[in-house]
């Protein structure tokens, strides 16, 4: 009996879900999007995906060898390699894709310590870097339903993407149904909104991603678009064009939710979602750059540790106020009991009780003031709101 016994730390039962199942879910959710891309753009989209995966995998093994580590069985490079081609047009030359993958793995991931330590979303940085280097290739979308050669220079008809029309302030040529079904020109994987949303919901149901981030991104963004439409026509129409053009929905489900670079708590995720909605909107409204999403995401990644520490500070205060109020209430009760035994006078007891409560609330206010001053200015409003809510609830 003894030989087979192994050491393990408590707890001895563990959840069946693991990193591997989570990542497999994400990969499975990305496959239907490739099928749609295959339908609209032909075999080249699939070859792009496969080469992205192979290249990213190869690079991360190479990185592990360079760092003299044993290459780990890791699925994250596969996800990165699957996401990057989906953000690019279907006729992108292979060297652009490879550069994006190289930046994602060799600049964003490996130098910081590999999976779990990257500061920025690798796919977003990879995409943003090639968008800066080859904007004429990255933002030139082929019209759908035409044959693109699998290898070599493509000679396809170019169409104006709805995102570009919007940035010019013009109403796109395509109608909204085209956008929903993905027959409008655009990034290879992000055009078919219906499939992307279905895959996102699959991930949410499988608990591979959290619903808070996509929802807290899309809702505030829609509100902003309704309030400040970029194009004429009915606001609802403008909203649909805004939401369904570019890689917005795709990014909200597949890139914003990346666990490593997003905040940890639900409230932090909410803050991150809302603030990235605002930043994306500003980028799109004032910027001339067609795709503000990736840059906004990179910017928000910087803030996620700050959102985390805001949550921690709020909870720190709550934990301590809970303890303080419980102990003081116990004290009050003990005093009350002692007084009722010795001298059955009611009024003075009441007074001391009120005084005590006032003291406690002063103490709480003090702690809050200290905590708030420590926090970064940007997040200040949200924190106080949160504590106020909590206090109201407690009352």
């Amino acid at each position: 009996m003894k030989e087979r016994l192994m050491f393990q730390n408590a707890p001895h039962v563990r959840q069946s879900e693991s990193v591997v199942t989570m990542m497999t879910d994400v990969i499975v959710a990305l496959l239907p999007i490739y099928l749609i891309a295959f339908f609209y753009h032909g075999a080249r989209s699939l070859v792009l995906g496969i080469s992205g995966v192979l290249f990213c995998g190869l690079l991360s093994v190479l990185g592990a060898i360079l760092l003299r580590e044993k290459p780990a069985a890791d699925l994250t490079p596969i996800i990165t390699g699957l996401i990057i081609p989906l953000l690019l047009p279907a006729d992108i030359p292979y060297y652009v894709l490879f550069s994006a993958c190289a930046v994602a793995i060799f600049v964003v991931k490996i130098p910081f310590g590999g999976t779990g330590y990257n500061l920025f979303n690798p796919a977003a940085v990879g995409f943003a870097s090639v968008a800066i280097c080859w904007p004429e290739l990255v933002f030139r979308y082929p019209a759908t339903m035409q044959k693109i050669e699998v290898f070599g220079e493509s000679t396809v008809k170019i169409a104006q993407s709805p995102a570009y029309s919007l940035s010019l302030g013009a109403i796109p040529d395509q109608n909204i149904l085209d956008l929903l079904l993905g027959s409008a020109p655009g990034p290879m994987g992000a055009t078919n909104i219906l499939v992307v949303v279905a895959c996102g919901i699959f991930l949410i149901v499988k608990k591979a991603i959290n619903w808070i981030e996509p929802v807290s991104f899309i809702l505030p963004y829609s509100v902003l678009c309704l309030l400040f439409p970029r194009i004429g026509g009915s606001p609802l129409e403008a909203l649909c064009y805004e939401l369904f053009s570019g890689a917005l929905i795709f990014g909200a489900f597949f890139m914003l939710t990346e666990p490593v670079t997003s905040p940890k708590r639900d409230f932090g995720k909410l803050m991150a979602g809302v603030s990235s909605a605002i930043v994306v909107f500003l980028f799109r409204y004032f910027g001339k750059f067609e795709m503000g999403f990736a840059s906004a995401l990179i910017l928000m990644n910087v803030f996620s540790p700050i959102f985390d520490s805001v949550c921690e500070n709020v909870l720190h205060v709550l934990r301590h106020t809970d303890n303080i109020s419980a102990s003081i209430k116990a004290e009050i009760a003990a005093k009350k009991a002692a007084k009722t035994v010795s001298e059955p006078v009611v009024r003075p007891v009441k007074k001391t009780e009120e005084a005590e409560i006032a003291e406690v609330s002063e103490e709480i206010a003090e702690i809050e003031a200290i905590e708030v001053s420590e926090e970064v200015l940007e997040a200040e409003n949200e924190t106080t709101e949160e504590t106020e809510k909590e206090e109201a609830l407690a009352k």
């Binding site: 016994l5 001895h12 693991s18 940890k264």
Partner: protein, 348 residues
């Protein structure tokens, strides 16, 4: 605060153990002599009951203290609520609940005796309700005592007093200790046994057993039979117990709640932390577990203190949910010990 307090949903797997009656290992019982052998149980005085608990050497299995000391020193009177702890919120473990379900007369007699000592305002028996995979109903009443079902997610034991009005004291006494007290009063029997749940996926005949204190884990497992060689044997609860390597030398004590044999062993570190934040959400104390684990691994004890590591109750919920199978709670507990050492030496 309660808004943020979360726990984890655990499959309880208590079914075969709770429906089967308790198996008693063959043994010699020990008896004690007392000066008041003939007085009826209803007429025992407060001092006599405490004396009984002392003579019978009863240990309270919920905290490992001697019962007579607890009875003597606990507050009594109007403001006190007596809670009989039969919560058992860890998977497999059901030793306290089985006492309440299969020997209710004894439990209610023991509770009656304790009630006489403490003269509390209210008495209730606390049991854990969240047993979805069991069609076993929890009784509404045991004897004349109301059974309060502690609902919700794991860990529930720390929430036993939550229902109490603020400012009231509570005395928590384990169900097995009540049973032993009743036996002491009825038969003058010493507490020489303890209740242990034997379970796990390689146990042939999982059930609750009553074995003499000091029985080795190997013997207990032999009693219930194994279908195959276990890869891990755990002494204690499945969430908080410890893995043992020498089952022929490890013995059960009064506070041991279970012996669990598992075929599947989860190795240590298999992946890096991906920062998913599930541990933060699982923590019943709303601690920022993910950050604390990083501090603990890098030995940043000052930061750990700022993040309230001393509030951690070591429940293991964070390790349970971690998709990377990181031993989060073990890391934290180790860091806490190191911190205490450093404090003693004056380094912090």
């Amino acid at each position: 605060m309660s808004l943020f307090v979360k726990g984890i949903f655990l499959e309880q797997k208590k079914e075969p153990m709770l429906t089967r009656s308790t198996l008693v290992m063959r043994q010699e019982f020990e008896y004690f002599d007392c000066d008041f052998p003939d007085s009826a149980i209803d007429e025992l005085s407060r001092e006599q009951i405490i004396e009984l608990a002392r003579l019978a050497e009863i240990v309270d299995e919920s905290d490992g203290k001697m019962l007579w000391e607890k009875l003597e020193k606990s507050p009594s009177g109007e403001n006190v609520t007596l809670i009989v702890d039969a919560v058992d919120d860890e998977p497999y473990i059901s030793s306290q609940m089985s006492v309440g379900i299969h020997q209710p007369e004894k439990l209610s007699l023991g509770t009656e005796l304790c009630e006489k000592v403490l003269s509390p305002e209210k008495v209730y028996i606390a049991m854990y309700r969240h047993i979805l995979d069991s069609n076993f109903g929890i009784p509404k009443k045991i004897g004349k005592y109301h059974v309060k079902k502690i609902g919700g997610l794991y860990p529930a034991e720390s929430r036993v007093h939550r229902h109490l009005p603020k400012g009231k004291n509570s005395v928590i006494i384990g169900a097995c200790a009540m049973l032993h007290l009743a036996r002491a009063a009825e038969e003058s029997r010493k507490m020489t046994t303890c209740f242990v749940t034997v379970a796990g996926d390689v146990v042939k005949n999982p059930r609750n057993v009553e074995v003499p204190i000091g029985t080795t884990a190997e013997k207990i497992l032999e009693l219930c039979g194994l279908t195959e060689e276990p890869e891990a044997i755990i002494l204690g609860g499945s969430m908080t117990g410890r893995a043992i390597f020498e089952p022929e030398n490890e013995t059960v004590g009064p506070t041991t709640r279970g012996v669990i044999a598992l075929s599947r062993s989860y190795g240590t570190y298999s992946y890096t932390c991906i920062g998913c934040g599930r541990c933060d959400h699982a923590c019943p104390k709303a601690l920022s577990v993910c950050m604390m684990r990083k501090f603990a691994e890098n030995g940043k004890f000052d930061m750990l203190e700022k993040y309230d590591v001393d509030m951690c109750i070591g429940c293991g919920a964070c390790s349970y949910v971690c998709p990377s199978r990181i031993d989060v709670s073990a890391t934290l507990i180790k860091a806490k010990k190191q911190m205490e050492l450093a404090k003693k030496e004056g380094n912090l």
